[in-house]
């Protein structure tokens, strides 16, 4: 995929003045004169075994040397964002559902959806201006990697997710509140709390899990802009640099890593939901 991008890797490395024969020789050495499909499959095979190849920009530096630490840093940031936002979103969504139609419901819904549409870096700038430059509560760059420095970027990432997760939690809870089985439970004489915990929430949170998983896709996308804004050397920054430098091995590996991560997360969510939903887990055996 990235290997289709035009630009001559060897030429990029050696510079414009290098003689053509040298360029050709290096291209051959790097394997860039082989047909595209062969190159791609070869690389894919290597990727699976952990050999990510070598950076074309900083040849012969192996890709993994940059990618793995960058990935770790990004996971730390993304993890912090999720930890912050998941409980808040679910709580917000359920609260909105319980106060359906009332101002607080409209408030949470509108605020949530508004935040979801605002680009992460815009959130970042506003947060930094207020809490960083204005109040000096947090540093304005995240290079140190400390939790303190990561807080603002994590919030910037997290705010975008709030809207969708809260909306799904809300929708699921509303549906469960109106369902016949909730009516049955209430009419048994159960306390409101028991009805909520045992009957409503068990059913309403299932679809929310799926949404959380799909939102991680947006999370990874947001990393690119946020890491740039806060100067954080994560995998997002790596991708941006690699694209600008036409460093295809790095770019390819980084992009594929993200794709795999996303697929793994959604797969785990699917499995979790199937396991929790008896209708899927157990087949009819009457």
């Amino acid at each position: 995929m990235a290997g289709m991008l035009p630009g001559d890797p060897a030429r990029n490395l050696l510079g414009r003045e290098a003689p053509a024969s040298q360029v050709k020789e290096l291209n051959h050495q790097l394997g860039y004169d082989r047909p595209f499909v062969v190159r791609y499959l070869d690389w894919l095979g290597n990727f699976v075994t952990g050999d990510l190849g070598k950076s074309a920009r900083n040849y012969p530096r192996p890709v993994s040397e940059d990618l793995v630490p960058a990935l770790k840093r990004s996971l730390k940031l993304a993890g912090l964002a999720l930890v912050i936002i998941i409980p808040i979103s679910i709580f917000g969504g359920v609260l909105a559902a319980l106060r359906y139609g009332r101002p607080i419901d409209r408030g949470i819904t509108v605020v949530g959806l508004s935040f979801a549409v605002i680009p992460e870096f815009v959130h970042g700038i506003v947060l930094v201006t207020i809490f960083g430059v204005g109040l000096h509560w947090f540093p304005t760059t995240a290079q140190s990697g400390s939790l303190d420095a990561l807080f603002l970027p994590a919030c910037a990432l997290a705010l975008v997710l709030f809207g969708y997760i809260a909306r799904m939690a809300r929708a699921g809870t509303i549906e469960a509140l109106g369902a016949d089985y909730t009516r049955t439970a209430s009419l048994k004489g159960l306390s409101r709390r028991t009805v909520l915990q045992r009957h409503v929430l068990r059913n309403s949170l299932l679809p929310t899990i799926t949404v959380i998983a799909t939102q991680t896709g947006y999370l990874f996308g947001g990393l690119v802009a946020i890491e740039l804004l806060f100067g954080y050397p994560g995998i997002g920054s790596l991708i941006l640099q690699a694209a600008n430098n036409k460093d295809f091995p790095v770019l390819q590996s980084a992009v594929l890593t993200i794709a795999i991560l996303y697929l793994v997360v959604t797969l785990m969510a699917d499995l979790l939901v199937s396991w929790l939903n008896p209708r899927v887990r157990l087949t009819d055996d009457v």
């Binding site: 508004s114 740039l228 993200i258």
Partner: protein
């Protein structure tokens, strides 16, 4: 159990006893819908903001105090006190000495030129794809859905970066890339709406007239899914703006001296500590536009649902 508005009763044996309530119901329903929208504060606020930016976008330099590329103060830099926000320059000056207020106002133009185009491309292609996969189901649906899943596994920004690398960042290529990236998302929404319609009997009835697939898809099903499509289009418009400014921020937008908000931020974000005004106002402008678009989309969806 909500109250039922349906008038169910014996049909008249003699001709002419059809309930007079029949005709009026439709007109009042549409009027009620519009009235509902007009009463919704979210809708009104959103429309006002959108109209404001549209006017700014159309008239650009003709209504701003300074031209967007006009250098007001020569040879200064951001640390000069004169560059800070003042009565003369309420939003301050940027690193090249240009009036930020004027640039923010004209910044709507480039964005509102490309975003609708990208949206239309994405919605049209996505709807057709959604109709086809939703109607035919089976292998076609399976294969295309898997492809869509694969494409959507990658964050859209990353795909966009990848493609724009090679194609360059003209308005057209931006519109095409964003439109392309939207297509699978819209296709998914349309597909599920189509699946809902396909199980209804009027589709069977059409087949029992000998209707062919294209007729059923476009003349029978499409009118019934226009509602969700329109709502999705308004949502996509918001995200088109989102994508455009993010790409601009990452360096894949139009070039200076374009007043595109994302470009402005891209040029100044490293100065945020010293010159916060160069990035905060464009950021707030972005926020206002996308939130306004979203409010309108949301209130339309609410009105249609109730």
């Amino acid at each position: 159990m909500s109250s039922s508005d349906d008038i169910v009763g014996a049909s008249p044996v003699t001709v002419g006893a059809v309930a007079p309530a029949m005709r009026n119901r439709r007109r009042t329903e549409r009027r009620e819908l519009i009235a509902l929208l007009l009463r919704s504060p979210a809708f009104m606020i959103g429309m006002v903001v959108i109209l404001f930016w549209t006017v700014c976008g159309i008239f650009g330099d003709r209504i701003t105090p300074y031209r967007h590329d006009e250098i007001v103060v020569e040879g200064g830099n951001l640390l000069d006190p004169s560059f800070r926000p003042s009565w003369e320059h309420p939003f301050g000056l940027d690193n090249l000495g240009r009036d930020v207020f004027s640039r923010v106002l004209s910044g709507a133009g480039p964005i509102l030129a490309v975003a609708p185009l990208a949206t239309v491309i994405g919605v049209v292609c996505g709807s057709i794809l959604g109709l086809i996969t939703g109607y035919f189901g089976g292998t076609v649906d399976n294969v295309v859905s898997r492809l869509i899943d694969a494409v959507l596994a990658l964050p859209l920004i990353i795909i966009a970066i990848g493609v724009l690398q090679s194609t360059g960042t003209s308005a057209l290529s931006l519109a095409l890339v964003i439109g392309f990236v939207f297509t699978p998302i819209v296709a998914r929404t349309v597909r599920s709406a189509v699946l809902g319609e396909r199980s209804l009997d009027y589709v069977q009835a059409a087949k029992l007239r000998g209707e062919r697939a294209p007729y059923i898809m476009f003349a029978e099903i499409l009118p019934n899914v226009m509602g969700p499509i329109i709502v999705e289009a308004t949502v996509r418009l918001g995200y088109a703006v989102f994508a455009l400014v993010t790409l601009a921020f990452l360096g894949f937008g139009e070039v200076d001296p374009s007043p595109d908000w994302g470009v402005q931020i891209q040029e100044h974000y490293s100065y945020i500590d010293q010159a916060w005004w160069t990035v905060l106002w464009p950021a707030l402008a972005i926020a206002s536009l996308v939130v306004a678009l979203n409010l309108v989309a949301d209130s339309m969806q609410q009105a249609v649902e109730s």
